[in-house]
Amino acid sequence: MSGTALSAIRPPAIVLGPWGWARANLFSSWWSTAVTLALGYLILRWSLDFVVWGVVNAVWTVPVNAQGKADATACYSAKGVGACWAVIADKYRFILFGRYPYDLQWRPAVCIALFIGLFVVSGLRAFWRKELALIWLVALTAIGILMWGGVLGLAYVPQDMWGGLPITLILSTFGLAFAFPLAVLVALGRRSTGLPAVKLLCVLYVELIRGVPLVSLLFMSSVMFPLFMPEGVNIDKLLRAQIAIILFAGAYLAEVVRAGLQALPKGQQEAADALGLTYWQKTGFIILPQALRVVIPPLVNTFIGFFKDTSLVLIIGIFDLLTAGKIAISEPTWQGFSTEVYIVLAAIYFAFCYAMSKYSHGLERTLDRARR
């Protein structure tokens, strides 16, 4: 009896390998199979169309005449069937560096490299120590010297000649560098129990800024700020926008820092008090080092937000990456090839933001593991 019964029960069919994986993840039911086939067809078709448009039929270069004017006839004849990457080939220096003097554009290029280096160094945990602040100070000073010039034999370049990617990086990075200390102070003020007046001011600041759009702050910086200044004092447009971004970033970062402060067990405060530390000793040596470590991933995410939000300065006419792209396509030669420029701009923004968000994800996992 036992022999027949056992042989009647077959082991469950398990298929391994790619086919087994596909059975489980793509064709597990009729419904799933239908969705897979439909989506697969659409993806295949669209990617083929895109490759044909973007690679096969694309125009990569166009002849440039003696005056340096590009001749876009080839692009116009390929319009609709092929991309015109020639607009990028012709305009990439303008999109990246704006109106910065052509011969001196190695300087903003070095600045971009410095910014990227600064991000990478700040991301390495081996550098998470007090010296990092010094590195930032040195790097930001070097960037300022390179952009402005006027010292060390570098020719002076006025600020209204700057443009493109360095402006985007300057607005976001300097914004972070100045907003961060402000945010820590505001967060501490908002958490303080003994100082109701200070707490009220901090709450008002944070809630007011977070309740209004950045555009309104930028408008404020461009039309209202000149009214605030005594006569004769003229602060340039970029600096005013930078101040608006710092105030804006400060409020959002303050909330992130506050979350870190709240996550800290109360015992840490009490133990520090018991040791007789003063408020600033307690905050500087006990509270902040622990609280800030916790909030690094959300800080990075907030920074990604600011990096994208700096594109809003387009609205008040500051020459950042997006504005440079928009001006490049408003040129009569290249009108009608905006899609290509937008794709490249999107790719640049995406590269920065994606790298940072991947980093923040990885960090979150590492920190989670360390805490367990």
């Binding site: 408008f219 404020m220 039309v223 609205i315 928009k326 999107a346």
Partner: protein, 403 residues
Amino acid sequence: MSETTADPRLTGPRAAPRKRIRLSWSDPVFRSIVWQMVVVGIVVAIVWYLTANTNRNLAARRIATGFAFLSRNAGIPIGESALPYDPAVNTYGRALLIGVLNTLRVAVVGIVLATILGTIIGIARLSHNWLVARLAAIYVEVLRDIPVLLQLLFWYLVLQSLPAPRQSLRIGDAVFLSNRGIKLPLLVWETAHTGALIGFLVGIVGTILFARRARRRQEATGSRPPVWPVALVLLLGLPAAIWGALGAPFAIELPVLRGFNFVGGGTVSPEYGALLMGLVLYTAAYIAEIVRSGIQAVAGGQWEAAGALGLSRWQVLRLIVLPQALRVIIPPMTSQYLNITKNSSLAVAIGYQDVVSIASTTLNQTGQAIEGIGLIMAVFLAISLSISLFMNWYNARIALVER
């Protein structure tokens, strides 16, 4: 045993000894008062300095402060307006009111659409089908990492580069896509439709009341009277009956090409369409992540336990998983709703006339910079505050009631 060493538990509560403030730096109360006076003093000094400068500058430029300009004649042409508006006669006040309505039109529709799309994509990310899950993940990654302004400009470009009305893309004879916007057929509105709408609203209230009764009944007796037949009658039957009783009018106004443009029908302008599309697609990526993490936050054991009790998959989702997931979802969702509202101010970049756009035109024409910016901020603060209050109320309603 002397009285001073008596057990405090026996003598009852005693007032804490009154602390006297000493004028010494080692007294924490004194210190905190000094610190606060210093901080408040600095803030007041800065504000006073800026106000003094502003007053001097305004006087020098001969700009009168105040909101008197609101009742002056505007002369701003407005493309889309929910209220009758004529730039020749109407005032700045009315123009700004139209701006506020236009902002709300984008924000409300955007919030609804982004919630629907975001929920679909968030659930798709958890799909068992690998292709669906990957696609949803790619959507989220790509759309989140590109500035929303760039996306808006791109969609505006797409909508503007549609063919001219004569060569427009069409779906039947009803929907036309052209560079003048999207033309849709419009129902000719009559009293019967208003009646049907009121009937529908009454139906909603009735259904809610009946569902509540059914619930009480279930709690008392254990058996639940079926709700759906009543809901069907109230939600569909009642409006249909009113509509039929009033003569069942049904006429559709189709857009018709006349000369170089369309006549009749409803319009979605390229500006509004691009703004809505950009905001919805961008915010949906964030909402998808919120929905996904909310559903994942509900432990798998909940599904299994509910299944073991004999609930259907839909019942498990509705009665067990969603109520728990919502607690995680609602707070971050609130901030996305606030973001969509605030990001609607990017309208100014593509020429949709929201409150920011109209206020900035106003302040350019009148020079009333402070009042203009103040109005923008007040409008957004009011909208933000209303959304926060509503969402906080909803959050409190669904929050875990702890003993």
